[in-house]
Amino acid sequence: MGGENLTMTAFLALLRRDLKVASRNALPLLMATLTQPILVVLVFGNILPRLHLVADEFRTVMVPGLMSITMLMAGVQGVLMPLTIDLSGSREVDERLLAPISVLGVAIEKVVAGAIHAAVAGLIALPAMMFLMHQTTGVEVHPRWAALLPLVVLCGLLSAAFGLTIGSRVQPRFSGLLFAVILGPMMLFGCAYYPWTGLAVIGPLQYIFLLNPLVFMSESMRLAVTPDVAHMPAPLLLAGAVGFAALFTLLGARSFEKRTIL
């Protein structure tokens, strides 16, 4: 009966709608996601090195980390903001749920839309940061594009799936708390400002960091844009990123269904 085709058609139409709305709001979305990395780069990558207050290596270490933070924020917000409207009193989500597509399909579409948002943010953040630091010396950023593109997509999926998981479990009124209590610590302990391999100095505690999905994103970016800096072995970071992306997609889809189908 062409049921499968129709599901795919509905999926793509929903995605087209989300991208259209996102492109209309491109400027505020870009400002929301790029302000932080740009300011951090200005201070830590430009001003402090000139004052000789941070080591030159820090700038190289920081770039992939800031990319991963940018993608995490963009992916989470790219899912969380629309989801808040969807699940609000007027329940805009019901129109999507009444489209000829399964609830799982609607959930996965949200993750894909958020992932595109995150990937675009990451890919804009990288040249923006390189531009801001181009006059300073000692920055060793050499993107390997063939590795970067698939890893950016993977990290985008991970971020958006994480956004769906927390967004469908946390009441909107607690979203401020969410950023302070969950995302804040994640960013500080996400190996964004230091490589995971360097954490060997703290002994076995190093492995506790692996509970933080952002670690795998930061290390992925490190592999892709600063190949000269030591990074986690590729199989481990891939397994971690894919594993967390799958886990959060599953958890997110489940809680999304619980929230939407009574």
Binding site: V21, E95, P100
Partner: protein
């Protein structure tokens, strides 16, 4: 006529939480709706109407029972059911980030309509619903009546077989309400099957061919509005607002011509007056006998009215309470 919707033994119990007990919203509801019928679910808030509708539209998972739309089981093949139905929800859930026109064209895209067809249908429905001038604005800037018409236009974009409406006229001014009634009537005349929940008697009476009166999750009565009214004992209704030191209802019940006496709980009670509803077969001197009975019980009479039964009377007869709170 063949049934386009069959609901069999539908039960929905919302699980409780630590603080709240489970809620049995629907407790064994069964009915059929024929192709091309205008069917109504009438009942007070919390009667289980919206939950029943939710089970038909796949948005509520039934605890037990079966719902079949156009021969397709809702639980087993929800996507195929969704292609055949359209919903006008109680909450106006229009996509606030799109324009009025895009609300229609994207909705059609979700259902796989080709671009040319999306555009021509949107044009036609915008014109039919008198929304052409508003095509470029965001839906939330529209008045309630226009938003409601846009919801109906959106529902019609994918050419459904059954249109389900949940309290469609709630919050509309009388003019917008009448316009909506006209629209629904026109759609029905065009052959569409309509299923509507409402707690407005007049609306149910005017529009619906058959009505299920529903309360506490059960269907109390299901018939045509005319048959429901005819089923009242006696055929006339005598309402009394009385106040008396001793119970007066038993005295009235024994009078010839009085078939039944019901106490109506109503919010308008004051000064100890209670409203009694007498189902009467008006015979000679009935009113005199009633007045004498009130006087002999040393009662005060505040107000009397003798009327033809309305759907509201049927409702009050069945549930013992007024519909609107």
């Amino acid at each position: 006529m063949s049934a386009i919707l069959a609901v069999e033994g539908l039960v929905k119990t919302y699980p409780g939480t630590r603080k709240t007990p489970p809620v049995e919203a629907v407790r064994g509801v069964s009915f059929d709706v024929a192709q091309g019928e205008f069917f109504g679910l009438l009942g007070p808030n919390g009667a289980g109407k919206s939950t029943t509708l939710g089970c038909i539209t796949t948005l509520v998972r039934p605890t037990a029972g079966r719902v079949v739309v156009d021969g397709i089981d809702v639980i087993r093949r929800p996507s195929e059911v969704k292609r055949r139905i359209a919903v006008v929800p109680q909450m106006r859930n229009l996509d606030r980030d799109l324009t009025v026109r895009e609300v229609l064209t994207f909705h059609a895209a979700y259902f796989g309509l080709p671009k040319a067809e999306r555009e021509s249908r949107a044009d036609r429905l915008l014109a039919e619903m008198q929304l052409t001038e508003k095509a470029g604005v965001k839906p939330l800037t529209l008045s309630g009546g226009l938003q409601q018409r846009l919801l109906i236009a959106r529902a019609l974009m994918h050419d459904p077989k059954v249109l389900l409406l949940d309290e469609p006229t709630i919050g509309l001014d009388p003019q917008a309400r009448r316009l909506l009634w006209e629209t629904l009537r026109r759609l029905h005349e065009g052959g569409l099957t309509l299923i509507m929940t409402t707690h407005y008697m007049e609306e149910a009476d005017r529009l619906c061919q058959r009505l299920a009166i529903i309360d506490h999750g059960k269907i109390l009565q299901l018939d045509t509005p005319a048959a429901l009214k005819k089923a009242l004992p006696g055929g006339r209704i005598l309402d009394l607002w009385v106040r008396s030191p001793e119970p007066i209802a038993p005295r009235l019940e024994t009078l010839p011509g009085v078939l039944r006496v019901e106490k109506v709980t109503s919010s308008g009670q004051e000064d100890g007056f209670e409203r009694l509803r007498l189902f009467v077969d008006p015979k000679d001197g009935l009113l005199d006998r009633v007045l004498q009975a009130v006087q002999s019980a040393a009662g005060d009479l505040d107000h009397v009215s003798l009327t033809q039964p309305s759907l509201e009377d049927v409702y009050i007869h069945l549930t013992g309470k007024e519909l609107r709170e």
